[in-house]
């Protein structure tokens, strides 16, 4: 997959810091999301930056891997943003779906944004209430490919990927298990 995250130096410009700790380092800045701790920015074509920010948290809550950095979830959301740029219906579904999540966060936890709900278990409760919706299913169905198909995350699972160019495993441990 092409590198779709633009790495930028931090800008000391105006920032709207998010209150909750879960996303404290992610800020919205003129058409982009910036993550200061991981030093990347996500430029958006179609979605509102606030929407993308919520979607990134949503992506992590759907497939939570604590050893996978947020930028890989952002890469997955960037793909959805690109699709939204060419598909007004899809874009509307994402914007509406996120607005709905925020509404549920406000009702249950008095938070303006879904990602401002501090505990994962509380956010998962919100997701359980929407998991049958086309919005949730579309995000999950996209993510199961767009997250796990990133070669950069495979080492987290121990997976080694392509092997033919290295001569396979015939001399590289296809039968190296010794603990039985």
């Amino acid at each position: 997959m092409e590198q779709v995250i633009r790495f930028t130096p931090q800008k000391p410009a105006r920032r709207e810091f998010i209150r909750a700790s879960v996303a404290a380092s992610v800020v919205v800045s003129a058409g982009a999301l910036m993550n200061s701790s991981e030093a990347w920015a996500l430029e958006l074509k179609a979605l509102k930056p606030e929407t993308a920010r919520t979607l990134i948290q949503l992506a992590r809550d759907i497939y939570p891997h604590d050893r996978i950095a947020t930028k890989y979830y952002a890469v997955a959301i960037k793909g959805m943003d690109a699709k939204a740029a060419g598909d007004a219906k899809f874009k509307a579904m994402l914007e509406k779906g996120v607005a709905d999540l925020n509404g549920r966060a406000k009702k249950a936890h008095q938070r303006a944004h879904y990602e401002s709900v501090g505990w994962e278990i509380d956010r998962v409760k919100i997701l359980k209430s929407v998991e049958k919706t086309p919005f949730f299913q579309a995000i999950r169905g996209d993510l199961v490919v767009s997250l796990y198909n990133q070669k950069e995350v495979w080492p987290v699972f121990g997976y080694e990927g392509e092997s033919a160019s290295k001569g396979g495993y015939i001399n590289r441990g296809f039968n190296d298990l010794t603990w039985l």
């Binding site: 809550d61 759907i62 497939y63 939570p64 891997h65 050893r67 998962v124 997701l127 998991e131 999950r140 199961v144 490919v145 997250l147 796990y148 198909n149 495979w154 987290v156 699972f157 121990g158 997976y159 080694e160 990927g161 392509e162 092997s163 033919a164 160019s165 001569g167 396979g168 495993y169 015939i170 590289r172 441990g173 296809f174 039968n175 190296d176 298990l177 603990w179 039985l180």
Partner: protein
């Protein structure tokens, strides 16, 4: 210089499909001096084109044209437009198959006699016996270089096999080995030995695995008697007033309709496209579709009782390393109704890479229950459970009434409901698979739902009587004497074993039969 036959050459045998059935038949006929045009819907991707990357390879090789599904099977819910994981490429699903090459057992050719009446099952004895098939099996094993036959040693066991073997022996299984695999354990037939690459399903990069793409078709092409025409999607078989088929029409790579004349037509498009083509070829004379006086075309669709058991351990396994399916337990393959079901099942090593594991481990699931499972990936072992499923008249390929392909032709609808016998067998197999891994120290089990079908069988079945099936014991249509079915669609019942060896053996036998009929001018 590759051979090219004229479109109006009505002396050629036209074969639709270049996989295990079509590719073998095409090559064998060419070797016997018969002129063959093999039409393949997919493009020609050679060994160097194969990709060690699951989704990229899927995009390259898989049949992803629109299909529809119905019925209570979970595939219809999770993968509504992907009933089958099969291939659209020269070589067909022999590019993707795992290589397991097992003979059917004697009783599996006569299930109606042996199993008796099974409510809701459309069982029937094959019009051919194991004894009659034995020489053809022997020829197929030699040709494909099946391990543990013809003096060919077994493949070495990988880590995934070690775990399965350890657990299997601990719970008392004895028929445990690295399989009868059409994968070279040593160089043979101009092809290399297995390099333990681990991407068997993505096209074998070493060429150690038998595939019609490079182990058959080039031999046929070398004779000058075989033309393989790729990216040619046959959509109609034509016939004359006497009811003999006269040729096929197809869309070429530019989407232009072409007509190839033929003396004989053999269809081997896999058990979804083969009946679809017969149904699409309906005419005034054959209003229900070609070769369908029995109304059995498309019925009795079988996909094997399948399922997988993955298990995680406290230490690494790295199951993705090495030959994917070189490991088998055969103790449950017998017919033993005391277990509560008829027929049996094989247990075979299996692994998926991270991208496909995410898609198939528990389709649709999310959250930490799922992701902690994924995080155990490195420590997982896996096996596939594959057993005989019951033929049912209502499990069926039909033409969808609304959905159309890019040429405007109705797509196939695949309807499937598990038979109660399938469910009992699957439950038994899950329990035994988990017992194997428990004995090896598993910390967590993943009894995984069936994937989109890889073994698609039975939709033009063989039957002694024309009213019971579509073709006779040689795969020849009961209704149309110069029309043959040459793939797994012919299977009267599914047996427990992976089907490719039997498809190849039947194709070799059919080639002899076609040559004999041609020389006697019967076709």
């Amino acid at each position: 210089m590759t051979t090219k036959f004229r479109m109006d050459d009505d002396s050629v045998v036209v074969i639709v499909g270049s996989g295990a059935g079509g590719g073998t038949l095409a090559t064998q006929l060419a070797l016997k001096g018969v002129k063959v045009v093999c039409l393949e819907a997919g493009a020609r991707h050679e060994i160097e084109d194969f990709i060690n990357d699951e989704w990229a390879s899927f995009g390259q090789l898989a049949w992803t044209d629109m299909r529809m599904t119905s019925g209570s099977w979970r595939v219809s819910r999770n993968f509504a437009n992907l009933p089958a994981w099969i291939v659209k490429s020269v070589g067909g699903s022999t590019t993707h198959w795992a290589g397991a090459s097992l003979r059917f057992q004697e009783h599996e050719f006569k299930t109606k006699s042996v199993y008796g009446e099974v409510k809701g099952a459309n069982l029937l004895d094959w019009p051919v016996t194991l004894k009659e098939m034995e020489p053809w099996y022997a020829m197929a094993e030699d040709r494909m270089g099946v391990t543990r036959t013809n003096g060919i040693p077994g493949l070495p066991g990988n880590n995934n096999f070690k775990v399965m073997e350890y657990g299997a022996k601990k719970i008392g299984y004895s028929m445990v080995h690295t399989g009868n695999m059409a994968i070279n354990s040593q160089p043979r037939d101009g092809r290399a030995a297995c390099q333990q690459i681990g991407f068997c399903f993505q096209g074998c990069k070493s060429g150690a695995k038998w595939s019609t793409l490079y182990a058959e078709l080039p031999k046929g092409e070398k004779t000058g008697n075989l033309e393989v025409r790729s990216q040619c999607h046959v959509y109609k078989i034509e016939h004359d007033n006497s009811g003999k088929v006269t040729g096929v029409v197809y869309y070429d790579k530019d989407g232009k309709s072409q007509r190839q004349k033929a003396r004989v037509v053999a269809v081997a498009g896999n058990s979804i496209e083969t009946p679809r083509l017969l149904l699409l070829s309906a005419s005034g004379k054959f209003s229900k579709g070609l070769a369908n006086s029995s109304d059995q075309v498309g019925r009795n669709y079988m996909r094997h009782m399948t399922g997988s058991v993955y298990a995680s351990f406290d230490r690494p396994v790295k199951m993705w390393r090495g030959t994917t399916m070189a490991g088998i337990i055969q103790d449950e393959a017998k017919h033993d109704p005391k277990r509560g079901f008829v027929g049996g099942y094989e247990m075979e090593t299996l692994s998926l890479g991270v991208p496909f594991m995410a898609a198939f481990l528990d389709p649709g699931s999310w959250g930490r229950e799922f992701t902690t499972g994924m995080e155990a990936y490195e420590n997982m072992a896996g096996m596939w459970l594959v057993g005989e499923d019951m033929p049912q008249a209502t499990n069926r390929i039909t033409l969808h009434d609304k959905a159309k392909d890019k040429h405007g032709l109705p797509v196939a609808n695949v309807h499937f409901d598990d038979h109660p016998n399938d469910i009992k067998m699957r439950d038994h197999a899950y329990a035994r698979g988990m017992a194997v891994y428990e004995a090896a120290g598993a910390t967590r089990f993943f009894p995984t739902t069936p994937y989109p079908s890889t073994h698609n069988l039975g939709t033009c079945r063989m039957a002694a009587k024309p009213e019971d099936g579509v073709v006779n014991a040689y795969g020849r249509s009961h209704d149309i004497k110069n029309l043959f079915i040459s793939d797994g669609s012919q299977f009267t019942t599914g047996a427990a074993e992976n089907p490719t060896l039997t498809i190849v053996a039947l194709a070799l036998r059919q080639a002899d039969h076609i040559v004999s009929l041609m020389s006697k001018r019967e076709i």
